[in-house]
């Protein structure tokens, strides 16, 4: 049924906004195994290539007066470095490469996903879920390693009235465990929603009367998506910094 459903369109508008997210092998039509070369592989490899071109080859001249690509790389570095330093403090700076990795991966994946016919790796909950769980586990383990049982003070709001504290503690615990969920769903949901909406508008372009409007809407959505791509990468990185700060300094 699933395979013939696409063939059974009997006229009218055809929307398949979710087809762009299907993971399929690049070569052949076999099953998707763990190490199959899929479109995920292709776009992640392109992400790596873009990051290497920007941050390694772009800065290869080590110029005192930077070239264009070098100043972009330096801007990224300075932006993330300042964010880590501002949010987590001086002792969070040694986790900077990790946050930079997350930020660059998400940013470049988001932007690559905006290319026509591209596959957006960050729109998949599997990908963002792993990213968020890595942050969550790393932060939790780091919190207990650095602070021991004192890390649990994160949940015990000592500034609140005593009667309220157990209730607040419950809320804090719940919100702590919701973190990886919201962290991952936010990114995946934003990416998925934007791309699906563009696809839906693109489907409307089949009707001649409203196709100019549809193209206008796609253009507007595309602009919004560029903004969202940058902001979501920033938000993911800054929330990672906030969680890291909680692990390093659990007291409220």
């Amino acid at each position: 049924m699933a395979t013939e459903a696409h063939g059974a369109e009997d006229g009218g508008l055809v929307f398949h906004p979710m087809d762009q997210f299907i993971v399929k092998p690049l070569f052949g039509n076999g099953d998707v195994g763990a190490f199959t070369i899929t479109n995920v592989t292709l776009w992640m490899a392109l992400t790596v290539v873009c990051i290497i071109v920007l941050l390694v080859f772009g800065t290869s001249r080590r110029a005192i007066v930077p070239s264009r690509s070098q100043s972009i790389a330096e801007m990224m570095y300075g932006f993330v470095y300042k964010m880590v330093e501002d949010v987590t403090g001086k002792d969070g700076v040694k986790y900077f490469p990790y946050i930079m990795t997350l930020f660059m991966f998400i940013l470049v994946s988001n932007f690559l996903g905006l290319l026509p016919m591209a596959f957006t790796t960050t729109s998949h909950i599997a990908v963002t879920g792993v990213l968020a769980m890595m942050v969550f586990l790393a932060v939790t383990i780091l919190g207990f390693v650095k602070n021991g049982a004192g890390f649990l003070g994160l949940f015990w709001v000592s500034s609140a009235p005593l009667a309220l504290r157990p209730i607040l503690a419950l809320i804090e615990v719940i919100s702590y465990f919701v973190r990886p969920v919201s962290h991952s769903i936010r990114l995946a949901g934003n990416m998925m929603a934007g791309h699906a909406v563009i696809k839906v508008f693109a489907g409307f372009a089949a009707i001649a009367a409203i196709s100019p409007l549809s193209i206008l809407a796609i253009t507007a959505m595309y602009g919004l998506e560029i903004l969202v791509s940058g902001i979501q990468a920033y938000v993911f990185a800054i929330l990672t910094c906030v969680y890291l700060k909680d692990a390093l300094h659990p007291s409220h």
């Binding site: 919201s182 769903i185 936010r186 949901g189 998925m192 938000v235 800054i238 906030v242």
Partner: protein, 78 residues
């Protein structure tokens, strides 16, 4: 017939879940508006609070994304 009714319920549920995104829109607008009014009162302190602004927007937006997710699940996964 049963399938029809089930599908109808699915679509209605998805539509209802989408209403939740309006709440996120109100929340994000509130955060950004409050930031702007505060920033206009004290522009010198505005630059240092952009990180807080984005964190606030992210938290407000996350809840809208949850309702969006529920809608998507109802549409495609149930």
């Amino acid at each position: 017939m049963e399938g029809d009714i089930a599908q109808m319920g699915q679509f209605i549920g998805a539509g209802l879940a989408s209403v939740g995104m309006g709440g996120a829109a109100v929340g994000v607008g509130n955060v950004a508006g409050s930031y702007l009014s505060g920033a206009l009162r004290n522009p010198s302190a505005a630059a240092s609070q952009t990180a807080t602004l984005f964190i606030g927007i992210a938290f407000a937006e996350a809840l809208g994304i949850f309702s969006f997710l529920v809608a998507l699940l109802l549409m495609f996964a149930v």
